[in-house]
Symmetry: C2
Subunit: 355 residues, 2 copies
Amino acid sequence: MTDAPFAVPERFQPGEWLRGQGQDADIAICTRVRLARNVNGFGFYPTLKAEEATELVQVVNRALTRPDIPERLRIVDLTTLDELERGVLMERHLISREHASADRPRSVAVNDQESVSIMVNEEDHVRAQVFESGFAVQAVYDRAERLDDAMMGQMPFSFSEEFGFLTSCFTNVGTGMRLSVMLHLPGLVWADEIDKATATVQKISLAVRGLYGEGSRALGDFYQVSNQVTLGRSERDIVRDVGSAVERLMSWEREVREALLRGESRSRTLDRIHRALGLLERAHILTSEEALNLLSGVRFGVHAGLIEHVSVRDLNVALLLSQPAHLQRVHQSPLNQDQRDERRATLVRGLLGRK
Amino acid sequence: MTDAPFAVPERFQPGEWLRGQGQDADIAICTRVRLARNVNGFGFYPTLKAEEATELVQVVNRALTRPDIPERLRIVDLTTLDELERGVLMERHLISREHASADRPRSVAVNDQESVSIMVNEEDHVRAQVFESGFAVQAVYDRAERLDDAMMGQMPFSFSEEFGFLTSCFTNVGTGMRLSVMLHLPGLVWADEIDKATATVQKISLAVRGLYGEGSRALGDFYQVSNQVTLGRSERDIVRDVGSAVERLMSWEREVREALLRGESRSRTLDRIHRALGLLERAHILTSEEALNLLSGVRFGVHAGLIEHVSVRDLNVALLLSQPAHLQRVHQSPLNQDQRDERRATLVRGLLGRK
């Protein structure tokens, strides 16, 4: 196994998911596909025995680093990382919260661009993710399919003619695939149309949930649209379903943004956007919740051409580094909540404050 | 009678009361003394007859423009001004609200610096005010006394050996004098010690009230300390009483400001000050209430040396021009509330936004 690719704190550029480019990047932050696979001959989690787990991780990682695999991956043994380092990987969307906090042999394989991450011995033996900035449902699926085929050439995956791929949890049986698009929907939230919009998507059996935070309000106005059904729908169906739902939401969001900047609404919208900027430029204490929400307003303003001196890249770096693990890695030592809120404000001022 | 000295909109520099200089100007905005006088031979308001009123105004204004009067005054006939023009005079503290809205012959005599204003046919026939920026109780009294002596040389004031000067309302009988100091007390407000502080002053029979707004919270953290008693206390006593109470409040305010910028409080105080600045720099809608309160935070920050690119003069111009009448005069036409809030924000951004 090679060293962790995250020789923090030098490397704090956003990975693929926050690259801020690609199709419809003013609304679609990132498209992700995840395939759940299990290797024949090993028990499914949680029945997998401890000595089996170690062997599983070795077997999968050997397979992932063979020349036939179309991705150049570096293996990170999560058991050698401390909590903060695992937190950084989680905040970069490379591992799940469960994978970060589990207490068993496990690893993640990541490429340099952070557009591919393969968790080993998560809920399933193999959870392969492909990311692409912007709206790119077909592209991520195509790349994941090539990776899947190559992996199957190296290790036999549990597959049933009747059900398709077998997974630890029945909700993933079939394609084992979850395709999701992370959307920034400040227009729908501000115009109070978000509930109507999400209900429309849920009617066609897709899930919409806030990317951050619990409950109905999504912090930072980020929403994730994904398929719920993995059984009885082909991969092609899922790509089409998610794709068309996202296109509908994006055009709705665009209409609402325009309406918010027209007529009587314009002044209130400008006020909200620029107040958000003013606070980010000046505050000395920022909770992560407030930072996310203010950054949302500024992002809207930047894409609407109302704020010219701030780049989407600045916003994405601010978003990434505002998160607790990144923040503490930048600071190179653990911080309590009050210290984090001060440090976050200092960091955001440095990024967004007029130079 | 000469023309109105307020050939708006060209002239929107703050007058003496907002000059921002003088002793203790970091806390004491302005010192003012007001003398209530009535002219023998004319009925007291409200028994003064209409034809008498016209004559009274002429008699007083002739007296005020004689060479023996030590102030160079220009006479403004309030009946020739529209509501907005009278509002501007009121917002400049040159006339009272009652004088602005009354419906009878009346005038005000003002000097160029706006350090002297003499209302004619207000509640009393003559209400002479002297202003000086900063803490200057002795200076304003001395100047008012010279003016009073000179006025008495030109017109006989109603005076009783037993009671002193006679006034329309019994609360002013005696010296007819009200001495007040306008203080900016953000420290005491933020540290929640303002009630204790004002109670201390009220115990010695002085009045403390918010300069703007109703109820307990003074908008902009501006408080006015003044004598309540005009009978049985000499002018010298009043100068000493008000002076020592103000000195006590100022030293209390200084202690609290220092404490707010020390230790654990520092970060919260910096946050509050700089958030206020960020909002003023960026907001597109500002009510006058919010503007006053945010300007208070920035004023504190400027005097504490925390904000270097904003001058006290900028803040004073912003404070003055944020008021409804000034705002509409700058805009050269009446504005509704929403329009005022937008215009106010634009104006404040222009003044405080980084150039």
